[in-house]
């Protein structure tokens, strides 16, 4: 499997070409960002198409791979389908989004209609808040079960991903590029659809705070 890394703008990109379909790529994207986050590579987001998967972040992925700080074989190891999957699902945006559909159907929350938006302070109780509270106090709640079931069926395609991971073992080719490759252009046009919470967000806040510090020292 081919993997390309390149910088663009103020971010670093990694594009993989597994050709396993959007669902499997999406699952792979969630799991990879989880691992990258743990490896302190500060991923910011990912996007999946039917052919490829792009992940971007604040650290130079390519350099981390070539210096073996983050071996590609470890990054794409099959064991990611175990704990990582569970852990990611728990705090994932995809799951929160699925939960929003479930909660809307259950009548917990109302859809926002154009022209009738309420301010954030008002209570269209945010489904995220409900999701977090349910998760910590009632993890077996029927809506959470429904969410997981929906997600496993509609969003994950775990089986196909497992086959792919065992097939590519030891057959990953990494190309560290100076700039975007022609192959990567289509997926780069898809960017901006999925986001990763966590360290990267904190890093952006810290950057904004540093700016103030710099200014005050001038």
């Amino acid at each position: 499997m081919l993997i390309e890394t390149f910088p663009r703008g103020e971010r670093y990109y990694m594009v993989a070409y597994p050709f396993e379909g959007r669902l499997a790529h999406q699952t792979l994207g969630m799991l990879l960002t989880k691992r990258l986050e743990r490896a302190k590579a500060r991923p910011l987001g990912f996007v999946a198409t039917d052919y490829a998967l792009a992940v971007w972040g604040l650290m130079d992925f390519g350099r981390m791979f070539s210096r073996n700080e983050l071996p590609l074989s470890a990054l794409f190891d099959e064991d990611m389908l175990g704990d990582d999957l569970e852990a990611w699902l728990d705090e994932s945006f995809l799951l929160k989004r699925t939960f929003r559909y479930c909660a809307t159907i259950a009548g917990l929350i109302e859809k926002r209609h154009p022209g009738k938006e309420k301010s954030g302070r008002q209570m269209t109780v945010s489904s995220d808040l409900i999701y977090d509270v349910l998760r910590s106090h009632d993890p077996g709640h029927i809506l959470l079960e429904a969410t997981r079931a929906d997600a496993a069926q509609g969003l994950l395609d775990v089986h196909r991903l497992g086959d792919m991971l065992s097939r590519i073992k030891g057959r990953i080719v990494h190309k560290g590029l100076e700039q975007i490759s022609p192959l990567a252009v289509p997926i780069m046009l898809e960017i901006g659809k999925e986001s990763v919470a966590g360290d990267a967000q904190e890093a952006l806040l810290a950057e904004a705070a540093d700016e103030l510090l710099k200014e005050s020292m001038l």
Binding site: R11, G120, V125, L129, V133, L134, A206
Partner: protein, 238 residues
């Protein structure tokens, strides 16, 4: 200050942010409460207890665990700071009947938080009349040294007003990515606290509801990060 509090302060010191405000030093805790060391006073704003059950009465069955989640965070903060007095800065209960619906376990948790310290309930728009059953002192406004505590910020308040009500949030966009978090908003003469309750949303401090309240050239957002406060200049906020 007792031993536990002293060591808690040591381990936590790096994470809090000390604000010079109206001539006193206040500590903004990343959990969303405000501590005034000199008076050993801890302030929470907009707890909105029993918001979940309040919605349920109106037919919207959202999970009722918010009170427990909020009170446990309150307890953790009180344990960390060991204050001699606590102010709940209004909208402590989401509606007038909130106190009556408080389940026994949470009532005990609240009593545990209140025991051994002075407790002041400032009235808010959601809870204009505070229930007598819980104890503590009820007040509309509380003045303490150079500071004035009230729920809803007044346009002509003078310096040293600490309020809540508006649930301030700060939003920044960097590298094409937006981050939005609760924050303490202050321009040095007025401070608006973030909402503490588990089910409370937030309002961007660029919203027109904040219009005229701050001297924008001196406005800073002290943003609640996961483990620390990030102080961000108002020019960076969107």
């Amino acid at each position: 200050m007792n031993q536990a509090a002293a060591s808690a302060l040591d381990t936590e010191r790096n994470h809090e942010c000390i604000l010079e405000f109206a001539g006193v030093q206040l500590v903004a805790d990343p959990a969303g409460c405000l501590y005034w060391p000199q008076e050993r006073l801890l302030v929470f704003s907009d707890l909105h207890l029993e918001k979940g059950s309040s919605q349920a009465i109106r037919g919207r069955m959202i999970p009722p665990y918010d009170t427990g989640a909020t009170l446990k965070m309150v307890r953790d903060c009180i344990f960390r700071w060991q204050p001699s007095s606590v102010i709940s800065l209004g909208d402590s209960f989401h509606d007038g009947g909130g106190e009556g619906r408080l389940p026994d376990t949470f009532r005990r948790l609240l009593t545990e938080c209140m025991t051994g310290r002075d407790w002041v309930w400032i009235s808010g728009n959601h809870d204009p009349v505070l229930p007598a059953a819980l104890g503590g002192i009820a007040a509309d406004v509380l003045a303490l040294g150079p500071l004035t505590f009230r729920h809803e910020p007044l346009l002509q308040s003078g310096s040293g007003e600490i309020s809540g009500h508006l649930h301030p949030q700060a939003r920044i966009v960097r590298r094409g990515k937006s981050v939005r978090r609760r924050c303490f908003a202050t321009d040095g003469s007025r401070l608006i606290m973030p909402a503490f309750g588990a089910y409370t949303g937030g309002l961007n401090i660029r919203d027109k509801a904040f219009g005229g309240l701050f001297d924008l050239s001196r406005l800073h957002a002290h943003v609640m990060g996961r483990e620390r406060i990030y102080t961000i200049d108002s020019r960076q906020l969107v």
